[in-house]
């Protein structure tokens, strides 16, 4: 299993900068997720690692060996495409076997590998089918089986679950996680779905506009987002309120969020304050700041409610298991669950 390093990788398409000076290290055996909105460059990075694109500048290393100019087929990567790219004119068996035949492996070895991969993905009964006879979930398994049958040094997955429906997606992601744990292949997984990213990842790189915004574990990117973009993108969509830092805390107009040790140089700074819907409570909490608001809309998700509340003209969303009693409600937020970002640079301001 291989360690992958990207050193200052950039990629331009004409005048568009798809990837902008990205350096990353993926540890051996790790499940590393590239997360970001469409067009953020995550797929381009994956394709550069696969050898399907040549970077405009920068180098790619597999275990310290420069593979930047190595043809894709020589890199020993297995790839699962978003469209699955299961060749439509071949049976499932031949789809998995063709890459092995190309390598001129003995027939017995090919058969053994195809059947072993099929067993792992639970598609042994589909080997004689054509792709058009398969459901989306089955095609996805075939694509994964093809990728692991070549016994790759690196497994690359480009949004492999995005074409499945919600229930199946939740099951399939647990299967992928279990399979990766078992095979211990260094895996790079691209997705735009932050829940999927969190559920799968050992570490996540959050990307935006060709740049890496933050690399970290799930808890790091969720609890300490380094900038407004990461805060907005991870977790259920955050409430943002404009405010100003004072010597006693952050003034957000309709309330003051108290902090004890505000450095003098920050006083007067304009900030964006982010609060996650799940961090707004309808019942008193210890050390909580209280806000008064009016309920404008309730979305009933059965196991919880999303409550849209007008607080002095600002609309906040709260996620709670309590159904609000009456139109007027009190909200409670804890200063430690409030994220403060510089309005101009959008970077996190560490304040306590």
């Amino acid at each position: 299993m291989v360690k992958i390093d990207l050193e200052g990788v950039s990629k331009r398409f004409g005048s568009v900068i798809a990837v902008d000076n990205v350096s990353l290290s993926v540890s051996s055996g790790e499940l590393f997720v590239l997360l970001g909105p469409s067009g953020c460059g995550k797929t381009t990075i994956l394709r550069i690692i696969a050898g399907l694109e040549t970077p405009t500048s920068g180098r790619v290393y597999f275990d310290g060996v420069d593979v930047t100019d190595m043809p894709s087929g020589k890199r020993g990567v297995g790839m699962v495409f978003q469209s699955y790219a299961v060749w439509p004119h071949m049976k499932v068996y031949d789809n998995i076997a063709l890459p092995l035949r190309i390598k001129k492996l003995p027939q017995s070895e090919i058969d053994a590998r195809v059947r072993s991969a099929a067993r792992m993905l639970n598609i042994e009964n589909l080997l004689e089918r054509y792709p058009f006879q398969l459901s989306g979930g089955e095609k996805q398994r075939v694509a994964v089986a093809r990728a692991i049958a070549v016994e790759p040094r690196v497994l690359l997955m480009d949004e492999p679950l995005s074409n499945l429906d919600a229930l199946l997606r939740v099951q399939a992601r647990a299967e992928i996680k279990r399979l990766q744990r078992e095979l211990k292949i260094t895996t790079i997984y691209v997705t735009h779905d932050q829940v999927e990213a969190m559920a799968l990842a050992d570490r996540i790189a959050v990307m935006n506009k060709g740049r890496v915004m933050q690399v970290g574990t799930v808890d790091e990117v969720y609890n300490k987002p380094l900038n407004r973009f990461v805060a907005h993108f991870i977790g259920s969509s955050m409430n943002f309120v404009e405010g100003t830092i004072t010597d006693r805390g952050v003034d957000i107009g309709f309330a003051l969020i108290p902090y004890s040790s505000v450095p003098d140089e920050l006083v007067g700074k304009k900030v964006s304050v982010g609060i996650r819907p799940e961090d707004i409570y309808l019942e008193p909490i210890q050390g909580g700041v209280v806000l008064k608001g009016r309920v404008v809309l309730i979305e009933n998700l059965a196991s919880e409610y999303i409550i849209h509340i007008d607080v002095s003209g600002t609309l906040l969303r709260a996620k709670t298991k309590l159904y609000p009693q009456g139109e007027e409600v009190r909200l409670y937020i804890h200063p430690s669950k409030v994220h403060v970002f510089d309005t101009i640079t959008e970077n996190r301001i560490h304040i306590a």
Binding site: S72, G73, M79, F81, A85, W87, P88, H89, M90
Partner: protein, 279 residues
């Protein structure tokens, strides 16, 4: 408005189309049938027992069996070539399909001029000293070379249409199928053999059908390049109609063209059944 009436509206609105079909399309076709089949002796029987039939079959087969495969092969390689993005690609592409804009008769005249005993090719070869006397392409004694000239003219003139079909087919292949092949280590020839050719089968089939259809109808170029001594199905139609003033026999030959077209079309569809699920 009650449902049954609504259902019939499309039919009522298109009654003119149906009338058009019946009188304008069907009548001439049935007229040809009746001319070809009825009479004493039946022109069709006359044709099927005529000594010319063997000769016509030979030349028709020879031309179709050399021209069309050559066109398909050239079109496949040209398509592979044009799939690469390079500077000036559009210009080269237009140049490649330019012969489409030239009349088949004009095309034949151009090649006739170039290959004639005092034409460009002979001048070039004599001036460079490769040969000392001109090579004759035309005339009954040089029927092999005439066939070569017909081959060149037809390939020049009609390959673009084959190219357009096959190129369209290749552009329809999902990039992912080819990139998966790259990732899994297939080289260019393996990609062509295992991925591209199976996937463009339906387009090769279409190209074969269209080209056979049109190749069976070529008259002008053959008359120009070979006068009366290379006889194919289509030239027989014109010969019997215009020179022998026998519409019956002409219709019978025309009907034969139709039959051969259907037969070969059916054959292509059977042989080149698209692989399951390839779309």
């Amino acid at each position: 408005m009650p449902s049954p009436l609504r259902k019939h509206i499309p039919y009522i609105l298109v009654a003119p189309s149906l009338a058009y079909l019946a009188f304008f399309i069907s009548y001439p076709i049935f007229y040809t049938f009746s001319l070809a089949l009825f009479g004493n002796p039946s022109p069709m029987v006359e044709v099927m027992t005529s000594p010319r039939l063997g000769e016509v079959a030979l030349y028709t087969t020879l031309i179709i069996a050399t021209v069309i495969p050559a066109q398909i092969v050239i079109a496949i390689f040209a398509s592979l070539f044009f799939l690469n993005r390079f500077r000036g690609r559009e210009l080269v592409l237009y140049l490649f399909i330019a012969p489409l804009a030239i009349n088949e008769v004009a095309a034949a005249l151009i090649w006739y001029t170039m290959l004639s005993s005092s034409g460009f090719l002979n001048k070039l070869l004599i001036n460079t000293g490769v040969i000392s006397a001109p090579i004759y392409f035309f005339g009954y004694e040089f029927i092999d070379r005439t066939l070569l000239a017909i081959f060149l003219t037809e390939v020049w003139r009609a390959t673009p249409i084959v190219f357009i079909i096959i190129y369209a087919g290749m552009q329809m292949i999902s990039r992912d199928y080819l990139e998966a092949a790259d990732v899994f280590g297939l080289n260019l020839w393996q990609k062509l053999r295992y991925i591209i050719l199976p996937l463009i089968k339906p387009y090769i089939q279409t190209a074969l059908i269209i080209r056979t259809l049109f190749a069976l109808q070529v008259v002008g170029p053959i008359f120009i390049l070979a006068g009366e001594y290379v006889r194919v199905l289509a030239t027989e139609v014109v010969y019997w109609y215009s020179m022998r003033l026998n519409p019956g026999v002409a219709s019978a030959w025309a009907l034969l063209i139709g039959l051969v077209t259907l037969l070969l079309g059916g054959l292509y569809i059977k042989l080149l059944r698209p692989s399951a699920g390839a779309t």
